[in-house]
């Protein structure tokens, strides 16, 4: 079941095209990565889904129904530029947002208490936002986003501003929400942060989608069938033409390709030159795939 689907979405600001014929569908229960450099159109897309701005043309469906304001109420949205009322206390602020999003007072208080506990913020609950560190304020904002248990969570650059420890905490919370059945759209220009988190990614560059698919499939497709090999070679004068050879004291590191062989056949071939210490397939990172795709799209 698709929780969100978008058909030929267009949006321009004056002469600047922010989204061009943009299609996307997000399956329920996944962590969906929306990747792209700054200014690619990610935030525009998110703002349209949240009905903050209107598209010029195109259609958006939530669980098969045309997007209405009441659907938006079931979306949790964490904007890229975080905002809280600086002079309001943590607890009051969360209560305000929770109630604006339709939670009853008692229910809201219960949820706030448990979230503050979970993110180690309980002792700060009566402090004003302006007295909190940036990371703590970010955590408060995260709670404000998820407090009403939305079916769809849209996080714009969720890890910016977090130190590695807190980023890990948030990452775990995202995975926990996924386990509970929440669909999460995660928008970022920092690819390394999503590689292990996302099930599915879409890449946007200059208002267009340039790649869309499950992370595993994308990685498989991008395989070059190259292997990185490390082995002991006694006689280094008699080696085949391997690539990127680094030779030292009887040890050699190099890359080689399958050339149509199965990996085991390649291994068999290599064994005759010496003792194999390491044999690893070279798989490009999402970031490398992304850069490659952008280059392709520029050439095309």
């Amino acid at each position: 079941m698709e929780i969100l689907s978008v058909q030929s979405l267009n949006k321009s600001y004056g002469t600047h095209v922010a989204l061009k014929d943009f299609n996307l569908s997000v399956a329920e229960g996944l962590v969906f990565g929306l990747l792209g450099p700054n200014g690619a159109g990610k935030t525009t897309f998110i703002r349209i889904v949240n009905q903050i701005i209107d598209q010029d043309s195109g259609e958006i469906f939530i669980k098969g129904q045309p997007l209405k304001m009441r659907h938006v109420r079931n979306i949790g949205y964490l904007p890229e530029e975080r905002g809280l009322y600086k002079t309001m206390k943590v607890k009051e602020q969360l209560l305000y947002f929770a109630r604006i999003k339709g939670l009853g007072k008692q229910d809201a208080i219960k949820k706030i208490t448990s979230w503050l506990e979970k993110l180690n913020l309980t002792k700060w609950k009566d402090n004003k936002i302006q007295d909190l560190s940036k990371g703590m304020a970010q955590k408060v904002q995260f709670i404000a986003t998820v407090i009403h248990q939305p079916d769809l969570l849209i996080l714009d650059e969720p890890f910016s501003g977090f130190d590695p420890v807190n980023a890990e905490i948030i990452k775990n919370e995202i995975l926990e929400l996924k386990r509970q059945g929440t669909t999460i759209i995660l928008s970022t220009h920092r690819m390394e942060s999503v590689e292990l988190l996302c099930d599915h990614i879409a890449m946007i560059n200059q208002a267009r989608k340039i790649l869309d698919g499950p992370v595993k499939a994308i990685k498989n497709e991008s395989k070059t069938n190259q292997f990185k090999v490390k082995m002991m070679v006694e006689d280094q004068t008699n080696m085949p033409p391997w690539g990127d050879v680094i030779a030292a004291e009887g040890q050699v590191e190099f890359t080689t390709s399958l050339n149509g062989q199965a990996p085991n056949a390649l291994l068999n071939d290599l064994m005759q030159y010496g003792e194999i210490l390491g044999f690893e397939e070279i798989v490009p990172s999402i970031e490398e795939i992304f850069i490659q795709k952008i280059n392709e799209s520029h050439e095309g």
Binding site: D54, E81, K86, Y96, A144
Partner: protein, 437 residues
């Protein structure tokens, strides 16, 4: 949805009322008026003590004008000439020198007052009055009328101004009290609109620049958010205002009570510089004042004040919200303040120049009917008595006016609140207003 507006109103209200600065402003402001009043009374009182009496040397070339000394002035006739008199003033042994040249009774000119420091207007005025009396006496005498006979014929009359046809009977009116009431009410509304309008603007800018708005618009319509903010902040203003009324009346009556007991009524009244108002026996004067104060229809006054207070605030508050939404920072807001400031300033100036001067003139009528100026201008008229159909027209237009400005501001707000980094000018605002998307 309606419950959510209430949440916004509650937040806006509590966030401000709970602030320490609110408490401070609310308590300190009403202390300022009685403190200033007390200070003036204190200075005035120490001024009339005998050693504060001013010595004035008189050089009279006619040898005929003898002025009687009183609590404020002591006149000395040393038979000096003008130069000698001036020297005394320069040395500081006399406050001033009154020089009376040989006078032609038909055209008395050339009377001069010399002093080291600028002579107070009140002093010159009372010297003029004293000399005028003397000259008139001489002239009467010259035409064969005995001044004593004349003064025995003089009588003192005073007209009570009564307004007829008011429901609930006739009432005594007095322009000085009406002036003061109109003046205070007008200024209060003017100040209130500016102070709280600015708070609306700051609040909108905060929500916009911190992107809080992006979280809120998914749960609330921008218009509801705008109205919630305007109403919430307005409620803060009303709260503050009510506390002030209570504090001011409590403290003022304490201060006046304290000084009132310490000094005789007569003196208190003369010092307040309104002799014509208080002439006659002091007891009679007090009764008169009480009657006049009672003559003011406080229920009507309070009601109209609240209507214009709220109406004017809503009318302009919407504009302040729209301005806040259109800009990225308070410093950018300056360019849009002009069209808001001008009508308010016109109302303010109009209050002094036209309305308080003649509450029933044509200009006063228009100022008090046009919604942009009526909140300030009408308050200047109300205490003088306004025909009910003027009031109805004015209030009707005011309500129409704020519905219109709120609708217009809502259009700007809705778009502006989500636009960042664009240079917004009047052209862009116009486009937003026309945009129906």
């Amino acid at each position: 949805m309606r419950g959510k507006i209430f949440l916004v109103i509650k937040r806006e209200y509590l966030a401000r009322v709970k602030k320490r600065s609110f408490l401070l402003a609310t308590i300190i402001t009403p202390l300022i008026f009685p403190t200033i009043l007390g200070l003036f009374l204190w200075i005035a009182m120490s001024d009339v003590s005998p050693d504060a009496r001013k010595f004035i040397e008189v050089v009279d070339e006619n040898n005929a004008y003898f002025l009687e000394s009183n609590e404020s002035f002591a006149f000395s006739y040393g038979g000096l000439n003008r130069e000698e008199g001036r020297k005394l003033v320069q040395e500081g042994t006399r406050f001033g020198l009154l020089y009376i040249p040989e006078l032609n009774l038909e055209q008395p000119t050339g009377i001069t007052f010399y002093s080291e420091e600028t002579a107070p207007i009140s002093m010159i005025t009372s010297l003029e009055a004293a000399l005028k009396n003397k000259i008139e006496e001489f002239r009467l005498f010259a035409s064969g009328i005995d001044p004593d006979v004349l003064s025995s014929l003089k009588t003192n009359i005073k007209i009570r101004a009564v307004i007829v046809g008011e429901p609930g009977g006739e009432r005594v009116s007095n322009s000085v009290i009406n002036y003061a009431v109109g003046f205070l009410a007008g200024i209060l509304i003017y100040t209130f609109i500016f102070v709280y309008g600015n708070q609306i603007m700051q609040g909108v800018i905060e929500e916009k620049s911190s992107r809080i708005i992006e979280i809120l618009v998914s749960s609330l319509k921008p218009f509801q958010l705008m109205m919630g903010k305007i109403i919430g902040i307005g409620a803060v203003g009303l709260t503050q205002f009510l506390i002030w009324i209570l504090l001011i009346s409590a403290i003022s009556s304490l201060v006046v009570g304290y000084f009132g007991m310490k000094m005789p009524q007569q003196e208190l009244m003369e010092m307040s510089g309104q002799q014509e108002l208080f002439s006659g026996a002091s007891q009679e004067g007090m009764v008169e004042i009480l009657q006049m104060v009672q003559g003011i229809d406080f229920i009507q006054l309070t009601l109209t004040f609240l209507i214009y207070f709220i109406g004017g605030y809503l009318l302009y508050g919407a504009f302040f919200a729209a301005i806040g939404a259109a800009v990225d920072s308070p410093s950018d807001a300056q360019q849009f303040m002009f069209p808001v400031t001008i009508p308010l300033l016109i109302a303010y100036m109009g209050l002094f120049i036209f309305v308080l001067d003649d509450p029933n003139s044509k200009v006063s009528f228009w100022l008090s009917v046009i919604p942009f100026t009526s909140p300030v201008a009408m308050m200047g008229r109300v205490s003088f008595g306004v025909p009910w159909h003027h009031l109805a027209l004015s209030i009707g237009l005011l309500v129409t006016g704020f519905l219109f400005t709120t609708w217009l501001a809502g259009k700007i707000y809705r778009i502006g609140i989500l636009v960042h980094g664009t240079k917004v000018g009047y052209k862009v605002l116009w486009k937003w207003m026309k945009d129906n998307g």
